[in-house]
Amino acid sequence: MQIYLPIAEISVNIFLILGLGGGVGFLSGLFGVGGGFLITPLLIFYGIPPAVSVATAANQIVASSVSGVFAHWKRGNVDLKMGLVLLAGGIVGSTAGVWVFAWLRSLGQIDLVISLCYVIFLGIIGGMMLIEATRAIFRTRRRGGQIRRSKKHQHSFIHGLPFKMRFYRSGLYISALLPLAVGFFVGMLTALMGVGGGFVMVPAMIYLLGMPTGVVIGTSLFQIIFVTANVTFLQSVQTQTVDVALAILLLIGGVIGAQFGAQFGARLKAEHLRALLGLLVLSVCLKLLFDLVITPDDLYSVMPGDL
């Protein structure tokens, strides 16, 4: 059954989009990831204009982050103060990102930048995941080699930065510039890539800010809600590329898929899951890279010029 998307202005197969949302929802339930970094490239592969894919994915991530944050909030796993500082950076970063997005679009380079960002980030993350999971599977990993946090009291240039703030929930006394910068960078990625940015935010919080792992996910989800909401709003105003119909379809599929994913995930070994996810991320990355490198069928492309 076909449905005409009002903003993307193309007909899509309704079951395929539901299935896409469901598949990514399944994976996010399975692996506990947001899935924005998979949904945007998949929408682009399907033929949705990249600009619409990115803006609509941001809208969809608002929903998945809201549904995820409640549980963390109840358990007190959200560092509100840290979240707000990250958010301040995120709002500035995502606003700048939307502006950069519109500028790149007018230059005709937005597709390239989106693809390149994805190739770089998916390549790094997928590669690291796969290596780590393979080691775990073959038990070459040393015992006790858990994720090491950088020591809180390790002194580096980071601790010489001004505007120090106390974050009680995380037990940190660090410069506010640091979370501001992290928020800014991830906000930029949200606008350019249509991702929540959890995959960058979470490692940055653990390794760069030195936050305890318990509050990392909740705080990251908390600020992602507002940053993606900001991107959704700004893209609506500036480029009119948020397709609510597409977002709703993805949502429905995503919610159902996530339920099955969580159930199925309980039956698989954690390292096998991570290896699978790593493989998946890498194959999306390779497909994008392949498209950039092979000689296109037509060297010339045509776009309406009123952008």
Binding site: I3, A63, A71, G108, V302
Partner: protein
């Protein structure tokens, strides 16, 4: 014939004169040399739109060839050329065209080059090769035909320019019909359909009929709303997502 009846006829003829002057000959006044109509003057893009055909039909008074052109609303188009830089393909040079129809198709009952000489087709801008696009960018003379060809090729690939003229079939010596195909990605706007009656390599008569392609129903309203009240649209999009996320979390909790 009596004198009075002759007078009556001449009075009637004088009365008809304004009408007669439109035709070419008195005896054809009663019938147009060319009559055309469409099965539908509105292509409605609804939520389930996957493309459609519009039937164009008509009649010619005397024998002749028929050519149909369908032209969508004009728009600006940018043609970009990719070049390989450090291994990847990057958009580099570009050319901007004005007055590019968003859709173009043509049809004829016989090959056009048999119906009329190239000069005539060029004069009336019939056929893809005779469309004039105004390039806004500076281009070298050798680039011009390459970019123009790229523009036409890309539009053909997306189904918006007809690959080749469609077939007009004559049902008798006078009645003809053809299907005009509009793909799923048909742009909205007012289309102009010209029907040319061709005789002896020249245009004997032209009929122009408009066709409106517009979005209707929910998708039209959403699009309209997104563009007119974009800030409100953005806020609603966020609210929908927040509510959906909240409902999902409630559903999850129950398990």
């Amino acid at each position: 014939m009596t004198v009075s009846s002759r007078m009556l006829i001449s009075i009637m003829l004088i009365g008809l004169l304004p009408i007669l002057s439109l035709g070419t000959a008195v005896k054809k006044a009663s019938a147009d040399p060319l009559v055309v109509d469409l099965s539908n003057h509105l292509v409605a893009i609804t939520t389930g739109f996957t493309g459609t055909n519009v039937l164009l039909f008509g009649a010619v008074e005397d024998e002749g060839d028929v050519i149909v052109t369908v032209r969508g609303p004009d728009q600006d188009m940018v043609v970009r050329k990719k070049e390989r830089k450090v291994g990847i393909w990057i958009n580099s040079k570009s050319a901007r065209y004005k007055n590019v129809p968003a859709y173009y198709a043509s049809a004829s009952n016989r090959p056009m080059d048999i119906i009329a000489p190239p000069e005539v087709l060029l004069d009336y801008r019939i056929g893809l090769q005779n469309l004039r696009f105004v390039a806004e960018s500076d281009m070298t003379d050798e680039d011009k035909p390459i970019y123009r060809e790229a523009l036409v090729r890309n539009m053909q690939d997306s189904g918006l320019f007809g690959e080749r003229p469609a077939k007009i079939s004559f049902l008798s010596n006078q009645l003809f019909r053809t299907d005009i195909h509009f793909p799923a990605n048909t742009p909205t706007g007012t289309y102009t359909i010209n029907v040319y009656l061709m005789r002896d390599g020249g245009v004997a008569s032209v009929k122009t009929t408009p066709l409106v392609v517009s979005k209707t129903g929910v998708s039209a309203e959403v699009y309209e709303f997104a563009h007119r009240y974009s800030a409100l649209y953005g806020i609603i999009a966020v609210i929908i997502a927040v509510v959906a996320g909240w409902i999902a979390s409630v559903a999850f909790r129950k398990r």
